[in-house]
Amino acid sequence: MKFRQLACRFSSVLSLVVLIAGCAVGNTYNYATGNTALPIKGEGEISVGVVDAREYVLSGNKDSSFVGLQRGGFGNPFDVTTTSGNPMVEDMTEHLANALTRAGFDVTEIRFSSPDNSLILTSVRQSALDKNLVLRVREWKTDAMMKFRLIFDIELSVHDENGVMLASVSDHGDEVLSGASFESANSQLSAAAFGTKIARMFNNPEIRAALTN
C-alpha cells in the first residue's frame, strides 16, 4: 500500500516536471554554420574576431555558450546554449569567417580573451594585416515561448594594421522574428537572423569603403 502511494506521488511529480519543462530543456542553437551572403566582393587578407561583451557573461552569471532562453509551458525559462558547446562568439567568428571567405577574402580568425579595448587592439596589431574586422557583441540572446524574440546590441568596426579604426557601425533592437517553433527551426532562424544583421552592417557605406579601398 505504502509502495503504491509512493509510486503515485512519484509519477505525479514526474508528470508535473514534464509538463512544466516540456521540450524546453537542453535546447542548443548552431551559430557556426549558415549561408550568409554579404553584399560585398573582396580580395586579399583580412582578420576577423568577435568579442563577447555581454554583461551577464562577463559577470559570470551565464556561461559563454549561452545564446538565449527557451520557456516552458508556464513561462519558466531554461538556458539555450551553442550546439558546439563552444563560446557563442567562437561560433559567430566561424560563421563570419565563412561568409567573408565566400565573398572572396582570405580570412584569419582572431580569438579575444577579454573585451578590453587595448587587448583587442594588441591582437589586431599582432595579426599584421591591412584590414581587420572586430564585432563587439554587447547583447545577443533569443527568447522563445509563443513568439521567437531576438534582443541584440552589436557593433562592427574595421581597423587598419596599426589598430586605427577606419569605420564603425552599430545596431540594436528587440524584435519578434517569428512564432516560436521546434528547436531545429529556432536554431536555423537565429543563425539566419545573425547573418541578416551582419550583412546589413557590411552594406553600410563607410564599412564598404573601408573594406574595398
Binding site: 560585398i40 512564432g179 541578416t196
Partner: protein, 148 residues
Amino acid sequence: MRVVSLCCILFALCGLFLTGCASQNLSADADPSLNLEEMSSFYVQRLPADTRGVGKLIAAELLSLGKEASHGDTSTVDPDVDAIVTYVDKWMWDITMYMIELRVEIRDPDTQYILASGQSFRTSLVRKSPEEMVKEVIAEIMKEAEGL
C-alpha cells in the same frame, strides 16, 4: 459550488491551451538603401522541396503588382533580372494541411545578399490560404522597403 469551480478551472485550462492555436506574426526587414520602385524584373527561384507551387504564387503576386516576374529552377535564372526571390514555406496538419509559415527573401543577383525579407507565421485558428499568405508577406516587404 464544487462543480462550478471545476468548470471554471477546466475553462481556464482550455483557454490556456487554445491560445497556442491562435498565434500570428507578420514582419519584414529591408536594407535602407533598397529602392523597390526601381526594380522591375524578378526571378522566383523554386525551392526544390516545393510541390505546392508556392513559387508560382509569388511570381503571380509580383505580376499583379505590375512587376515582371518569372519563376523556375536555379539552372534557368535570367542573369539580367533586378532581383532573385527565394522563399521557405512550412506546413502543418490540423484536420487539414495548412501553411504555418512563409518567408520570402529578395536577393541581389550578383552576391545573393538579402536586400529585403518578410515572413508570416499563422497557427491553425488564424490560418490563411497560401495565396493570402503570399499577398500579405509581399505587401509587408513593400511597406518596409518604402519606409511606411
